[in-house]
Each structure stands twice: as C-alpha cells, then as structure tokens.
C-alpha cells in the first residue's frame, strides 16, 4: 500500500473488494474457466530427474510427534555452477539418545544439467543421520560459498561449504549446541555487522511417553498442547566462525510458543531485519529489531498474532511477500484444517496488518486442508505473486480419492493448493491449471521454488512424508518478461540476505526481499525473481546495511548481479 495513502482510497478499495466478493461466484467461475483453457502448468518431472528420495517417518503405530513434523528441504546452488542443487532431510527410526545412527541419512542431489541430478551425498559429506526436520542456507563464514544448517529433533548440525563440492560438520567448532526439537531456521544479519546470525525455531518439549488419541479414540499424533512449548534460539555470529547463544539477552527466549515457521524481512521499514515466527496453537510473534541486539514482540500490536476472530491458530509455514502488490510486505501463514490459512495484509504507515483472508479468497478455500510449506512467485510472469501451498494432515481423516501414500499416511494425505493472483490481491483457485502439483495426493511438508532448469520461470520442489520428493517443471505460458537478481558483495561473494529490491512494472512498483528462509523448514534460493508485463529499466536496492543504490536493469529475461557499492547512491 502506498505510503501517502488516505482513508478514502482504502474505503474505495474495500468497496471494490466487497463488490468483488459479492460477485465472487461468477468471477471465480469465469476466471477459473479462463485459466482452465490453458494446458497443465506444473508438470511432475521427478521420475526422470534422478531424485529418488522418500522421507521415512518410521511410523509404526506409536504416532510419535516427530514422525509427522519433518521433511523439509533446501534448494540452493551449492557449487556455484549457476544451477540449483537439492538437499533433502530424512527422518529416523530412532528417537535421539538411543545412540545408533540411521541407515538412511539426509541426501544431497547435485544438478549436473537441467533436470538431471546425481546423488552426491557421500562425496559431499552432507549425510547427517539425525532425526531431520528441515534446513536453511547461508554463507555464515563469508567465504562466498553457501553453507547449510540442518534442524533436527535432537542435535542440529552446521555444515560448512568447503567450496570443492564437499562440506564439513563444524557444529562443535562453531560453538553450536542446539538440542531439542528444532523446526524452521533462518540466517539473517541482525546486527548489520556483515555476517549472518541464525534464528532457530524450537517446537515443544516432546515426551515420547505422552500418548494421544483422536476424537474417535484411536492413537493419534499429539498436538503441541500436549507438551510444554519450547523457547526459540538466536545465535549471534561472532565473525570468527563461531556463534554465541544470545537467546536470553536478545529477548527471543522470553516467550515459549511451539514455533514452526519463520521468515525474515524489514517489517517496520526501519532498515533492520525483523523475524516473523508462526507458532502452533500459540500467538505468533513478530520480533522487531531494536537495533541493539535485542528484539521486542510486536505481533499483537501490529495485528499478526491472532486471526481475524482473535483466535490463536496452528501456524506452520509462513511467507513474507507483497501479495497484493501495494509495495509493502504482507504475511501469509498456513494452518490446520478447520482453520483457514491467513493472509495478513500490510496496511502500511505503521498501521499494522489486517487479516484479509476472506476478501482475498485465500481463507475459506483452505479450511479443508492442513497447510505446511508455502511459496509465492510469479508463475506466469504477469507481475504479481501467485501462491502455492503444500498440504498434509496431522490428524487422520477419511482417505482422499487418489491418495498415493502408504498406510497410515493415506489417511493424512491431501492435494496441494495453488492460487492464481488476479492482480488486485484477490486469488482464485488454480488447481485445474497447475495439473500434477494439485492433483497428487500426498502428505506434503516442505516446498521450495527456484528456477531449477534456468529457463527464466520458477519451478517447484515438494517433500512428502512416506512419499517421493517431487520436482515440478513450470510450463506456464508467459505473460511478460523476467529478471533474476542476485545481490552480493563483490568481496565476500555471498548473497546479501535481507536486501530489498524494487523495480517498476508500468506504473506499479514491485518489491521483493532476498531471503533463503520461509515456507516450512525449507531453504529457498537466495535470489529475487521478478516477472513484469511492462518492465522498467531501473532497480532500486536497499542493502542490509541500510544503504540505498540504484542500478540499471539492462535487458530483461536474464540474470543480473548487483554488487554492493557499485550502483548509484540514493539518499
């Protein structure tokens, strides 16, 4: 929403939106019909890709909570060869403390050529055997190579990228001792000292002896309320390859809240990175950076702690993106069934956010699904963000037609959701056009988007419990041009997470932030990918340090590298 917005346009907008809602039935059907005329836009190419990975939960009837939480992934360029590689975390048949390592570790797939991956787990050294939940990526040692942090139920692991195709486990030497039940994590430079700090969400104090049942009295996975919630962890990068736990002094550990999802951005526009944390059955947190190493939770004040009805929901995955195209970062959180996913529209001008799930069309349509991973990208390059949600229940339910999961997961599997942005911040169901992505019925968790084949549009990877990780190629017709922007420091060579990019598309401004952490327990490529119908020629960049620079885009339909200090300074 524009910075100089007056109440009148807001009112008008509301009126327009109300009209849209009233006309929604007709509109939905018209739009869907229009979309339906196109061929399937997301095509499952897993079988020929060489990625043969199944996340094993080792569920054998005991319904232990960790078995249904995991299955995150990381999509990143591990070897700097310009294409994306894939890291998939694995479950474990043993709870931590038993000692023996799993025979099935996490796996790393290196992309050799478009859509051709090879299993490079052994040579990379990335085969952690812990009870994997998720992963995040970032160059913590500023050597230009992307490192990876693996969150586990049990001890987490930090792998340093040696730059030669191999990684080393530096957890101990980095001073990291994170136990417990980690979920999503995020690298971000919280203190603007030029290195990446690390935020690790922690779920609950799981106790295997606590048994839960469904309402029908059958053994069922416990919800978070069955256990004491955990406190999140914030590790400060000391710049010498080690980290210091500053959870308490930063204020992050002041709240225990069963956290699962995280994303980071500058939510209050002060140039400092903030964190939004989606909590399961607890109020969400928006940790606003106080610029002195401390954070204050302003979620309630800014209207993103609860839903429209003032209820706590089961926050899982989360994304921060300008979904309504008003140049401010909105939030979207995925939830349990019988709740809806929630779209928090950023009202700008420090007016906070408003739950616009209903008006946007994103709410009621998700009531019947349990959402986890979520990504927003411009599927057909028309300048607005479309939404994709990976679904899968946490409570057994009737089998959905077409389920591909083995028992008992056939009772947990659900189709994924796709929403196409109509351009006004209203979304319509796109399941008919995206084909495989929404027709496969599995218990999905992780979801990442990236231009896997380098053809200028974003493709998808989904991880599933007791089902194959799936790769979807984007075959959508293109409505505009694309630009992939990497924002780096030439000296360090690493992507500068938290960099905010603005470009124009006709008379509107598209803003995007470089981040590797969002979705659910998943790392996404640290680049910005923009589609535009009427692309502009300038890029405005706000670096994590707060400096602003302007660059020329040059031609579109290519990748550009923006180096800090090499653009035209803007006050």
């Amino acid at each position: 929403m524009s910075a100089n917005r007056s109440p009148l346009p807001r009112l008008l907008q509301l009126m327009v939106l109300s009209v849209l809602v009233l006309a929604s039935c007709q509109q939905d059907s018209q739009e869907t019909a229009q979309l339906r005329s196109e061929p399937p836009w997301l095509v499952d190419v897993t079988s020929s890709s060489g990625v043969d990975f199944i996340y094993h939960s080792y569920e054998s009837g005991s319904r232990l909570l960790p078995a249904h939480i995991g299955a995150g992934l990381a999509l990143f360029d591990a070897d700097r060869d310009g294409d994306l590689d894939l890291y998939l975390v694995q479950g474990n048949d043993r709870l931590p403390g038993i000692g023996k390592q799993s025979d099935l570790p996490n796996r790393f797939f290196r992309q050799e050529s478009p859509w051709q991956f090879v299993d490079a787990t052994a040579e990379s050294g990335l085969g952690d055997g812990g009870f994997g939940i998720g992963a995040t990526t970032g160059d913590f040692d500023n050597d230009g190579w992307t490192d990876i942090y693996v969150s586990n139920y049990g001890p987490d692991v930090l792998y340093r990228n040696r730059g030669d195709g191999t990684f080393e486990d530096v957890t101990e030497s980095a001073g990291i001792d994170v136990q417990g039940f980690s979920a999503s994590c995020a690298f971000a430079d919280i203190d603007r000292d030029g290195d990446l700090d690390l935020f690790i969400t922690q779920y609950v104090e799981f106790d295997a002896e606590t048994k839960c049942t469904s309402a029908a009295g059958r053994p069922e996975f416990c919800g978070p309320e069955a256990f004491p919630p955990s406190r999140n962890i914030l590790l400060r990068n000391d710049g010498d390859g080690t980290f210091t736990n500053i959870s308490t002094e930063s204020g992050i550990a002041s709240i225990a809240a069963a956290s699962l999802g995280i994303c980071c951005d500058d939510f209050n526009g002060d140039g400092w990175i903030d964190f939004y944390v989606a909590n399961d059955a607890h109020e969400n947190n928006l940790w606003i950076n106080q610029k002195d190493g401390t954070f204050v939770d302003d979620a309630a004040i800014l209207g993103v702690s609860l839903n429209l009805n003032g209820q706590k929901e089961a926050g899982m995955g989360v994304i921060a993106a300008d979904l309504d195209g008003n140049s401010s970062t909105d939030l979207f959180v995925t939830h349990l069934d019988m709740e809806s996913n929630t779209f928090y529209r950023n009202l700008g001008e420090q007016m906070g956010f408003m739950d616009d799930s209903g008006i946007s069309g994103l709410g009621p349509s998700s009531m019947n699904y349990t959402g986890f991973g979520v990504v927003a990208f411009d599927l057909e390059l028309d300048g607005d963000l479309d939404l994709f949600v990976a679904n899968g229940r946490v409570r057994s339910g009737p089998k959905r037609p077409g389920t591909k999961s083995p028992p008992p997961w056939d009772h947990y599997s659900e189709p994924n959701l796709c929403y196409i942005n109509s351009g006004s911040g209203r979304f319509v169901d796109g399941k008919e056009i995206v084909g495989d992505f929404s027709s496969v019925v599995e218990t999905s968790r992780g979801l990442a988007a990236g231009d896997i084949d380098g053809d200028g549009d974003l493709d998808l990877v989904v991880s599933n419990i007791e089902g194959p990780a799936r790769l979807y190629r984007n075959d959508a017709p293109r409505a505009g041009s694309w630009l992939r922007i990497r924002a780096t420091d030439r000296n360090q060579g690493r992507p500068l997470l938290g960099t905010r990019i603005s470009v124009t598309d006709g008379d509107r401004v598209i803003i995007r932030t470089i981040s590797a952490a969002s979705s659910y327990a998943t790392a996404t490529p640290a680049v910005v990918h923009i589609g535009a119908k009427d692309p502009g020629s300038k890029v405005m960049v706000r670096w994590p340090s707060g400096e602003r620079e302007e660059f020329n885009t040059g031609d579109w339909n290519r990748t550009i590298d923006l180096y800090r200090g090499e653009g035209k300074k803007v006050e």
Partner: protein, 368 residues
C-alpha cells in the same frame, strides 16, 4: 372357496403383508448401517460401546429420528464427520425440520470443508425461524470468513438482538466493523465486550488496532503497553451454544475426558475430575499418565490410600515416571507411611538427581 374364507384369506394376506412391511421397514435404515465403516481397530472401547449402542437402538426403533440423531451426534462428537452427516440426513428424512440435526449437520459440513452445504442446512432453520440466534451467528461466521462483511454484520446483529449480553456477539460485530473500516463504530462494540470480559486479550488487541485506525495513536499505545505488562489477560470469549454442547458432551474418548477432567480440576471439582479420568482410563487402560492424574485428584480429595493405589498403577506402567514416585511419596507421607515415602523420594532423586521437591522433602524428613 366361500366368500367368507376369501375375505378371511385377504385379511390374513394383508396382515402378513403388514408384518413383512413392518419387518422390512424395521430394517430399512438399520441394514444400511455398516458399523465397520467407523468402528476400526485401535478405537477406544468406550467409543465403540457408545457407537454400537446407538446402532442397536436404531435397530430397535428404526423409525425414530431421535435414534438417528443420537448416532449422528455421537459420530460427530468423535469427529467421524462424514459419517455423522449421513445420519443427520437420515434423521432429517424422518423429521425434516429437526432443529438439532439441521444445525449440527451444518457445522459438520463446515468442518468437512463444505461451507456452502453448511449454509444450506442452516438456511433451512432460518426459513422457519429467521431470528434463530446461534444459526444467525454461524451464518454470520460463514459470511465473515468469505469476506462478505455486510451480510456477516447483518447476521451478527440479529444474533445480538436476542443475545444482548453475548460478549462474543459484540466482539464479532466490532471486528466486522473494523474490517469494514468503520473503526469508531467498531470501538463502541469492542468496549461493550471489554465491559463483559475485561481481561480478554484478543479484544484488547483489536481495540488497539481500531484505535490506531481511528487515529488515536496515544490511546492505542496505552493498550499496547497493557498487553505487554498484564500477565492476567486471556482468551475468554465463548459462544453459548446449547445445540453444539449437546453433541460435545457425547464424546467419551480419552482426550475429551481428560480435557473435561482438567476443566473440573481447575474449578476444584476433584470428584468430577476423577470420574472423567476413570472414563479416560477405560479408553487407555495402560496409560500411566491417566492413572497418575487420578492419584493426584484423590490426594486433593484427601483420599491418600486410594491415591497410592493409582500411583502404584502408574509406576507399574512406567517404572521411570518421576512425578508418580514423587506424588506417591507425598501421598504416603500424608498417610503416615514414612519409610515408604522416603523410598519414593529417594527414587525420585535417583531418576532425576537434584529434584528440588524430593530433596526438600527428604531434608524435612531428616533423611538428607
């Protein structure tokens, strides 16, 4: 054949037909109930018993809408939602305007992600009773979630007309008005909520947002400070919904029983809590936690002898259950079985070295 005989024969045939007809009618629905659809392996015994009981009663009274409603409500209470809708519909076949079936069937549709079907069900109630408060509330919610705010507002206003003291009703109106960008009116409604539930945190959150939008940043900040400082704020708004409660109380699965037991415990109703824990234990006989909780409420009831028996059971089921040893120690101490109490506190320390309470107790008993 005489006329009389023919006549008698016709009567007999008619009687036979009536008997057969009644027999077949008796089984029309009953035959369709395939218990295996919803009674599956691993289900807790009390749940199976209530479902089977409902089916047997339908078999005895196949023309009773009430019996179908009972089965539907029982299935609904145990979240067997799709099956529940089937039997709500059967009840409605026998009694098309049965309020409870229409209302709860609507809710079940909603939970199943079929909001339009839910609305259809509720619309049938409204067609007979346009002012029905809870149904208007539900339809209001339906519109609210869809973003059809004017319709939602109208429904909530009908609800509040008959339930003027409902905090949640005013809350919904306040929130809808805020969503409609009418913060001043919203504040009026939200203030009413606060008068009824002064410690309701979500309402304070919304008030602070409404104040911001109304341009009263100073007051908004005051409330924001209260939200940060006040530890006694909670979520307190509930919809008084007797039609739904009728379903909810049918749940006899252990999770529901434990939830009810905890609620009783909070109110100091320990004997009621014990009863619920006993029902929970019937569903999960090998759950050490339930036995332990029963023991704890028995201590609260002053019955340490029985409490010890429950703690014994908890420990037999989980020999590393620290809390059970600890609480058995307490119960034994109360019962005057000092040596056994000391043994329990020692076991606690063995399992959890440094356990503060066990240490304190042993010190008190002169054993440390």
């Amino acid at each position: 054949m005489s006329r009389e005989f023919r006549s008698r024969s016709r009567v007999a045939t008619l009687l036979l037909l009536i008997v057969f007809a009644s027999l077949s009618a008796r089984n029309t629905f009953a035959q369709q109930i395939d218990a295996a659809r919803f009674i599956v392996e691993g289900m807790e015994t009390p749940v199976i018993r209530v479902i089977e009981g409902c089916i047997r009663r339908i078999d005895k009274e196949p023309q009773s809408y009430r019996r179908y409603y009972e089965l539907a409500a029982t299935l609904d209470a145990h979240e067997l939602l799709a099956e529940a809708t089937t039997y709500y519909q059967k009840a409605l076949t026998l009694k098309p305007d049965h309020l409870q079936s229409l209302y709860n069937c609507g809710l079940t549709y909603e939970f199943l992600g079929r909001p339009e079907d839910a609305k259809k069900s509720w619309d049938q109630i409204i067609s007979k009773d346009p002012q029905h408060p809870q149904t208007n509330f539900r339809i209001g919610e339906f519109y609210f979630r869809k973003g059809a705010l004017d319709e939602a507002l109208a429904c909530f206003q009908i609800f509040i007309a008959s339930q003027p003291d409902s905090a949640i009703g005013h809350s919904r109106i306040g929130r809808t008005l805020l969503q409609l960008d009418r913060p001043a009116e919203s504040l009026v409604e939200l203030e009413k909520v606060l008068q009824m539930s002064p410690l309701d945190r979500p309402t304070l959150v919304t008030i602070s947002q409404a104040l911001l939008r109304a341009g009263n940043r100073e007051k908004a900040q005051e409330i924001q400070q209260q939200l940060k400082d006040d530890d006694f704020l909670s979520d307190s708004l509930i919809l008084l919904d007797p039609l739904r409660t009728e379903v909810a109380i049918r749940a006899v699965n252990s999770t529901s029983c434990i939830a009810r037991a905890e609620n009783h415990e909070k109110k100091g109703e320990y004997a009621s809590a014990l009863m619920e824990y006993e029902l929970a234990a019937a569903g999960q006989p090998n759950n050490a936690r339930i036995a332990h909780r029963s023991g704890k409420v028995l201590v609260a009831l002053g019955n340490s002898a029985s409490a010890i028996e429950y703690f014994d059971r908890a420990i037999a089921l989980d020999s590393t259950f620290v809390d059970a040893y600890h609480n058995r120690g307490v119960a034994r101490q109360i019962a005057g079985i000092r040596a056994a109490a000391v043994a329990d506190f020692r076991k606690v320390l063995e399992l959890e070295p440094g356990h503060p309470f066990a240490t304190e107790q042993l010190q008190k008993l002169g054993e440390l």
